[in-house]
Amino acid sequence: MKKIYLFLTAASAVFFLAGTIYAQNTGEIEWLAQIDKKPAVTYNDAVNLFVYQTGKNPSTFEQDSTALASEGIALQGYNGDTPLTKGMLSKMTAGYLKLEGSLMYNFFKTERYAFKACIANGIFKEDGSQYDRLSGPAMIEVFSKINEIRGEQK
């Protein structure tokens, strides 16, 4: 009887551990698949993707924002539900990549000049505005470019 209990306990432990590893590995992919379908993303979505980008798993919005603020990525004055604009994502991206290429951005760390710096670095096209809202696929495309630039920097 004892042996059966031991066997069952070990088997369930293996099952749960395997489940946890599986969830960790595919959680990001499943989340990206959901984002792909969104016609408009929020500031919280950008925070989550930056958390993945820095090699961690997202937790609560407050904790993630605090963690990103320490790295100069998080924005102030927005809550998680705020629709994400090109200007907002530009400022987060400029903070993450330590972008140069715009003299004005070096003086004024505003979303407007961060957007110009992103255009100068090929992250956004010129024919847009900092107030344009982003869809899920458009936000992921920006992160593809961030990955490319990070690859070049390494």
Partner: protein
Amino acid sequence: MKLLKMITISSLIFLFSAAGYAEITVIKVQGNASYRDGRNWIPLKENLVLPEGVKISTGTNSYAEIKLNSINHTVKIKPLTVIQVFSKETATDTNTHIGLKRGGITAKVPRDSNIKTIFKVSSPIATSSVRGTEEDISYGPDTGMIVRVLSGIIEGTNRLGRVNFISGRQVFVQQFNTAQALNILRDLNNQYLITIFGNGLTQDELSANQFFGDELLGNPDDNPSGMINTNTPTGRVHIPINIQ
């Protein structure tokens, strides 16, 4: 009679089965990369054999490399990419079609003169066909489809059937709202096609001049160091003229 029927049927089965699916194998994985099985995403592992029509997705800072058939056509999948792969192969030809939903890939298609190769990568707005050996393709809703050739020639075709052949440092850029791909030399604006040295000579011309300059251009007695001064960009050229 029965035997003849059996032989015919078996040969037909053999012929049709020969035009089968190629083996899609995972070569390398870094970070989060998964393939879709039904409704679930399953993590990729090295040496895993994937089914025909498989959908693959990669996460941030993640890469995967897959082999598409027995003649080593490979694709490196970049971060934040979603692709779907169809690959068929027989003894005489290969037919590979990759659907690029988002992100980027680098395709390597080594040529085998005995095997007819069809290798296409399609995005929602254009298709590229590899005619050479290596290409870099990306697609996103903002920038459109961008194809760069790393080696050989590729053919870029948009939804309206307009074709561009790309080689060297040319680039195929097809955006959503344009009927035609952008200028294939757009990356070369204000740049150079080839490197030139002093006197406006290319590396080959410079080498040729150093070896054969005297014989080609004039009398070595007049200028023992060669006809063209290659030390300074503003060097003068002395050309003896004999008028008889």
